[in-house]
């Protein structure tokens, strides 16, 4: 399966793949953000690879780490091939300013809630999402809690005891 995937990316999306990475036997392909939708569409409809299952979408914030220079946000698409029983990742690196990537809601309905969660907690925007609204945090909460610069001890919405205090950022 690994070879088939490499072959797939090499023949069809050679210029879209930024780099390839293997960590603990898990294969990841970093693709350019603008190519993501095409890559996923091709994977989804490739009969031989049989990647019909979107397991998860998540994101990592690399603020303050040396990886930040490549792109602060790493959005991870966790794809699974039911036929080959093989899991691999398609990853996208996004800049700190206005991180936006195409939505996969048209390919997988399950992407709807997963993308909403990433948007709510990490602040990554998904272009073309039908209903990109908050899902877990209260409506009046400002900011995106899973970002590394979101203060850990600050309670929001403000309660009486911390209403006027500035938040203390813990790193």
């Amino acid at each position: 399966m690994q070879d088939k995937l490499r072959e797939f990316f090499k023949t069809r999306f050679a210029e879209a793949v930024v780099k390839e990475d293997t960590f603990r036997d898990q294969l990841s392909f970093y693709v350019r953000p603008d190519a993501l939708l095409d890559v996923c569409q091709a994977l989804r409809h490739d009969a031989e690879l049989d990647v019909r299952f979107l397991s998860d979408i998540t994101a990592v914030d690399w603020l303050g780490h040396r990886r930040e220079s490549e792109g602060r946000f790493e959005v991870i698409y966790n794809l699974y091939s039911l036929g080959h029983r093989y899991r691999f990742f398609v990853k996208v690196l996004l800049p700190a300013e206005n991180p936006t990537v195409a939505s996969l809601c048209d390919l997988w309905p399950s992407a709807n809630w997963l993308e909403r969660e990433v948007f709510d907690l990490m602040g990554v925007r998904f272009a073309g999402h039908p209903d990109l609204t908050k899902i877990l945090t209260p409506d009046e909460l400002e900011g995106h809690p899973l970002r590394r610069d979101y203060p850990l001890t600050w309670e929001q919405p403000a309660f009486s005891w911390n209403k006027d205090e500035p938040p203390e950022v813990i790193k």
Binding site: F23, R24, Q26, S28, R52, F53, L54, S55, D56, T58, A59, V60, D61, W62, H65, R67, I76, N78, L82, R85, R87, F89, W108, P109, S110, N112, W113, L114, E117, L121, K134, I135, L136, T137, P138, P145, L146, Y150, L152, I170
Partner: protein, 391 residues
């Protein structure tokens, strides 16, 4: 009268007994038919993922118990396996066997609660009392192992919190003895019960294609006949050594899911029996100096162990840079942990892929165009725990 004005918007929850916690569903009804359903979640969001980022790896573990509080051991197992994968280490056979045994006990326990509450939602009041009777015997095992009845945190990174209790074999065999007797009672009460069949057969149907598109896992996916069980597909913790079958449904309705969960209890008992019979001797923790805590006996008498103990407790261990994903078959479906290490002693990111969250997203698909009374059955048959949905 126009078509739009005929619909009524009805709010269900968040304080509604059949939503199994604090789930809110906004329903648009046309008479008794559901036109649109919109689940609203987040009432129990506690920021567990954010909390874990600021903790040392082994200190983040107790938070996992509190996500799916009906299946704490499965959550422990998923997190520990993910960290072990990140640290690239292996655990002794005895640990693997014990973990399989405990994870399967957890599955039985979770399914029993599901069965009781689902039947309660559908009007079979007495089921809850019977299933909780059998569940008690499993909680006794928890208590003997971890000292607590629910949030045990017994499975630790690199092994177990302490050795299995001396009478482990005896008390688990008591479960093996009691649960099958209970299962016979449940089957007598429900499987051919006309009211139960009418309420569940052909209700909350999802086809195999849709189930895959909606990324459903666990009994929700297998109820539609798709053969995907993480234990068989990508075995972990030595599951490849056990003989069991994965029950599959045909119709993808609530009744098939009921049958599957009952059969899964039986298969789990079969696995537990094999694990007990073949339980190897050996240490209950891996020997990885600097990462896994040394056994307490050694800490009291050996200088080196004491130093490692001190160092791990105070500053933890540094994990390499990179992300790993480890999935386990939790009672509700594929529970995954994506842990990104950044070279420090705390995780950069811990992502939990909660099966309930993903499965719940399919609720509109299950109920739209169906009768209002089926919504309760659909929510019940998804088997959600809001602690896990919201984290």
């Amino acid at each position: 009268m126009t078509a739009e004005s005929r619909t009524v918007t009805l709010n269900m929850g968040p304080q509604h007994p059949s939503t199994h916690g604090v789930l809110r569903v906004i329903l648009e009804l046309d008479g008794e038919t559901v036109v649109k359903a919109r689940p609203v979640i987040g009432y129990l969001h506690t920021g567990i993922e954010k909390t874990m980022e600021s903790k040392l790896y082994y200190k983040a573990l107790p938070a996992t118990d509190r996500m799916d509080y009906l299946a704490p051991m499965s959550n422990n197992l998923g997190f520990c396996l993910a960290v072990e994968k990140l640290m690239d280490m292996d655990v002794p056979d005895k640990v693997k066997w014990a973990r399989v045994c405990l994870a399967e006990l957890t599955r039985v326990k979770s399914h029993l609660v599901w069965l009781g509450t689902h039947a309660l939602d559908l009007g079979a009041m007495s089921m809850l009392l019977y299933t909780f009777r059998e569940r008690e015997s499993i909680i006794d095992v928890y208590e003997a192992c971890g000292g607590q009845r629910m949030m045990t945190s017994y499975i630790r990174i690199g092994g177990l919190a302490h050795d299995l209790p001396r009478d482990f074999d005896k008390i688990v065999r008591r479960v093996l003895d009691q649960v099958p007797r209970g299962l016979r009672d449940y089957e007598d009460l429900l499987t051919k019960n006309e009211i139960f069949i009418n309420r569940t057969k052909g209700v909350a149907v999802i086809s195999a294609e849709d189930a895959i598109e909606y990324s459903l896992t666990g009994p929700m996916l297998r109820g539609s006949g798709v053969n995907y069980d993480v234990r068989k597909a990508n075995p972990y913790s030595g599951y490849e050594n056990f003989d069991f079958t994965v029950p599959l449904g045909k119709n993808g309705d609530a009744y098939d899911r009921y049958l599957i969960r009952l059969e899964e209890i039986r298969q789990s008992l079969k696995i537990i029996k094999q694990a007990l019979d073949g339980m190897p001797e050996g240490p209950y923790r891996a020997h990885v100096p600097g990462v896994v805590l040394p056994p307490k006996e050694d800490v009291l008498y050996k200088m080196e162990s004491m130093i490692f103990h001190f160092k791990i407790i105070t500053e933890g261990f540094k994990a390499p840079e990179g992300g790993v994903y480890q999935a386990v078959e939790a009672p509700k479906g594929e529970l995954g942990f994506y842990i990104a290490g950044d070279g420090s002693n705390t995780p950069r990111r811990v992502r939990v892929r909660p099966p309930s969250f993903v499965n719940l997203a399919s609720l509109p698909k299950l109920v739209e165009g169906r009768l209002f009374s089926d919504v309760v059955c659909a929510i019940g048959s998804i088997d959600i725990v809001l602690g896990e949905v919201d984290r």
